[in-house]
């Protein structure tokens, strides 16, 4: 016997109580939307986190002397004590097709002081032109402008500016132990104030032109600590880093070419953890839905006791009865899926293309040291839409198993005699 009649019976049963069917399907559809949205939003957060962790300040790949990390000693410059031909090295890095921009950096610890207030800070020496192509934190200053070389200027974070009670145009003193053991100190004018939204950075970073910082530290112009590299997208960091290491190694420098995944393994782990959590989202959402569907199916089979009894009495096998119920549930699942996609697609497209600004509800926050802007930004990942669909239909079928088994065991004689 062909499957068609059983399917038809199942399908037509859906029309028996159209409102009930629609409500149940709607329940599943909303569940589908909830799952797809939760995952899409969380992927949006992850993408935002990775972009900010790598693009705001640090860069997607960092090149250091092999000794530099983790102590970050002033003396472990690229190429060791002799330094390196910085321009040539930067050009070398730029030749890789994955590389978008490169910038040299010098780091040192120091004290930044104004009047009564002094704070311990991280001094960051940058090449202003190149830096703007690599990191984003200097793109839009809260106030003022990027420092110019040779004029003893610097930019500081908003929180440091608040602690030191200084604004653009005010002088601050920097004291920093130099490479020769002397206490480098000089006056600098605040040319601008930046805000990253990350409290540590806003409170501790002071950024000045590379050459000026080298002078303060009695560090030769050939000595830099880091080359920050921006690449086409964060996910090719590992491959690009490997290629760069191969390109640069013949120069006989003992270099470490570290992709952000290595510099910031916590974020990688965090992303992996969140990915694992998506399975749990499906279990929870559809775990709730399954009881609603089971209830509907139970009711729909119970009110058809007599009909099913007639079918059985006329020679239908219990297996066929199970089939009709499962077909009914499956059809409902597909209906719900269509409804779900109908709800999800426009909303998700909207939030993907034009993320909603939630900054009225909550401010910037940082997770695992990475800034998250308060926007409702979702990612569209087809895989999760498909998995959601599979989970939805499976839920409907699973929910129908028990009602189907009960229906198949209806004793025809008792049911028909009105017991």
């Amino acid at each position: 016997m062909s499957e068609k009649p059983w399917f038809r019976i199942g399908w037509r049963n859906l029309g028996r109580h159209r409102k009930r069917t629609m409500l149940t399907a709607l329940g599943l559809a909303v569940g589908y939307f909830a799952a797809v949205f939760t995952i899409g939003y969380s992927e949006g957060l992850m993408a935002e986190m990775v972009e900010n962790a790598t693009g705001l300040v640090s860069g997607q790949i960092e090149i250091h002397d092999a000794e530099y990390r983790p102590e970050r000693s002033l003396y472990d410059t690229i190429g060791g004590r002799d330094g390196v031909n910085v321009t040539r090295l930067l050009d070398g890095v730029s030749t890789d097709p994955g590389v978008v921009a490169v910038a040299p950096r010098v780091y040192a610890g120091g004290l930044i002081s104004s009047g009564e207030s002094t704070s311990a800070g991280m001094l960051m020496g940058i090449d202003p032109e190149r830096e703007l192509t690599v990191s984003r934190f200097l793109d839009e200053l809260v106030d003022g402008r990027v420092p110019e070389q040779g004029r003893n200027e610097l930019v500081i974070g908003v929180e440091m500016a608040r602690q030191l009670a200084v604004g653009v145009g005010d002088d601050v003193i920097i004291v920093a132990p130099g490479a020769d053991g002397s206490m480098g100190n000089d006056l600098y004018a605040v040319s601008g104030i930046f805000r990253t939204g990350m409290p540590e950075l806003d409170a501790s970073n002071a950024v000045l032109p590379l050459a000026d910082l080298q002078t303060l530290l009695t560090l030769d112009p050939s000595r830099i600590h880091e080359i920050a590299v921006t690449i086409q997208n964060p996910w090719i960091a590992n491959d690009t880093a490997e290629r760069l290491a191969a390109i640069l190694n013949p120069d006989d420098l003992d270099l470490e070419v570290a992709p952000w995944t290595e510099l910031n393994p916590i974020i990688v782990e965090f992303v992996a953890l969140i990915n694992a959590f998506y399975g749990i989202v499906f279990v929870i959402v559809f775990g709730v839905a399954i009881f609603g569907v089971a209830n509907t199916m139970l009711m729909s089979t119970y009110e058809r006791r007599r009909e099913i009894a007639v079918m059985l009495a006329m020679g239908a096998t219990p297996g066929s009865v199970v089939k009709t119920v499962l077909y009914e549930a499956g059809a409902m699942g597909i209906l719900a899926l269509a409804l779900g996609i109908g709800i999800s697609l426009p909303l998700m497209l909207w939030w993907n293309i034009a993320p909603i600004d939630l900054s009225r509800l909550y401010g910037d926050l940082t997770v695992q040291g990475a800034l998250l802007r308060p926007v409702l930004r979702v990612e569209l990942n087809l895989a999760y839409w498909i998995w959601g669909g599979v989970a939805l239909v499976a839920t409907a079928l699973l929910a129908a198993l028990y009602p189907a088994a009960r229906a198949a065991r209806i004793p025809p004689a008792d049911a028909l005699s009105g017991l």
Binding site: L111, S113, A120, I173, V175, D180, G181, S182, M183, N185
Partner: protein, 250 residues
């Protein structure tokens, strides 16, 4: 640097004492500890700092009053001459002649190096009241390399705000000269060793003219401080240890 002063002062007080055989460990250490308080000093010293990356020598003039006040002014090298540090009431200010400004050391930097040496800012200010902060017992008494010594074990009292897990102090019995002090961290690991040597007469008192501080984790690094001249109980008022004096480039 305070340990230096304290050790120094300790020696000074102990020096004239006779018949001290029956002193308790606490009383002996008290002599090593108590001395600088109330007495004043003025001297010239050189500090030789050797690190893996550089070596430098500084000449400095030092004034002190008790354990609360001291002023150190660099006289050499030329590039940094005039740079001065004032310690008063547990605060530290640095005067920078190049920019003619004074900076107060923030609390978070008190563990940092002083003038690139192996002494920390805390060493300069922490009132090393050994007898108040530590429980003191004699760990060893007798002969060490032909010298009769005491070795004291100093363990911090529960309420004491000190950074060390415990200290060991070796003191020569014949003249109460400290020979070395060992500083252990909270895990019981040796953190640094201060060695005293060249016991000579300066300013009318027997003092260890040389103090050598050696961090345990960097065997090739050390800071050696040597007193060239020293005078005691001079006429110094508290008002001398002021920001005005600090900024006066004498």
């Amino acid at each position: 640097m305070k340990p230096i002063f304290i050790a120094l002062v300790a020696v000074l007080t102990v020096n004239g004492v006779t018949g001290a055989q029956e002193l308790s460990p606490r009383e002996i250490m008290d002599r090593v500890d108590r001395v600088l308080r109330g007495s004043s000093s003025h001297g010239m010293a050189t500090m030789q700092v050797t690190t893996e990356n550089w070596e430098r020598q500084m000449t400095m003039e030092i004034w002190s009053l008790g354990t609360e006040y001291s002023l150190v002014r660099l006289r050499a090298p030329q590039k940094e001459a005039g740079t001065a540090t004032l310690m008063a009431d547990k605060d530290i200010w640095n005067y920078l002649p190049k920019v003619d400004r004074t900076i107060k050391m923030p609390a978070s930097m008190m563990g940092g190096a002083w003038m690139g040496s192996h002494f920390t800012n805390d060493d300069l200010v922490k009132e090393s009241q050994l007898v108040e902060d530590y429980n003191i017992e004699i760990a060893y008494e007798g002969d060490r390399d032909g010298v009769t010594v005491w070795e004291f074990l100093l363990t911090p009292l529960p309420e004491a705000a000190v950074v060390w897990g415990h200290l060991e102090y070796q003191v020569r019995q014949q003249d109460y000269m400290p020979l070395w002090a060992r500083y252990y961290d909270e895990d019981g690991e040796l953190s640094r060793t201060m060695t005293f040597s060249e016991f000579i007469d300066l300013g009318g008192r027997l003092v260890p003219a040389v103090m050598d501080l050696q961090p345990a984790d960097k065997p090739h690094e050390r800071t050696t401080m040597r007193y060239e001249t020293l005078e005691f109980d001079i006429d110094l008022e508290r008002s001398f240890f002021s920001l005005q004096t600090l900024q006066r480039q004498r």
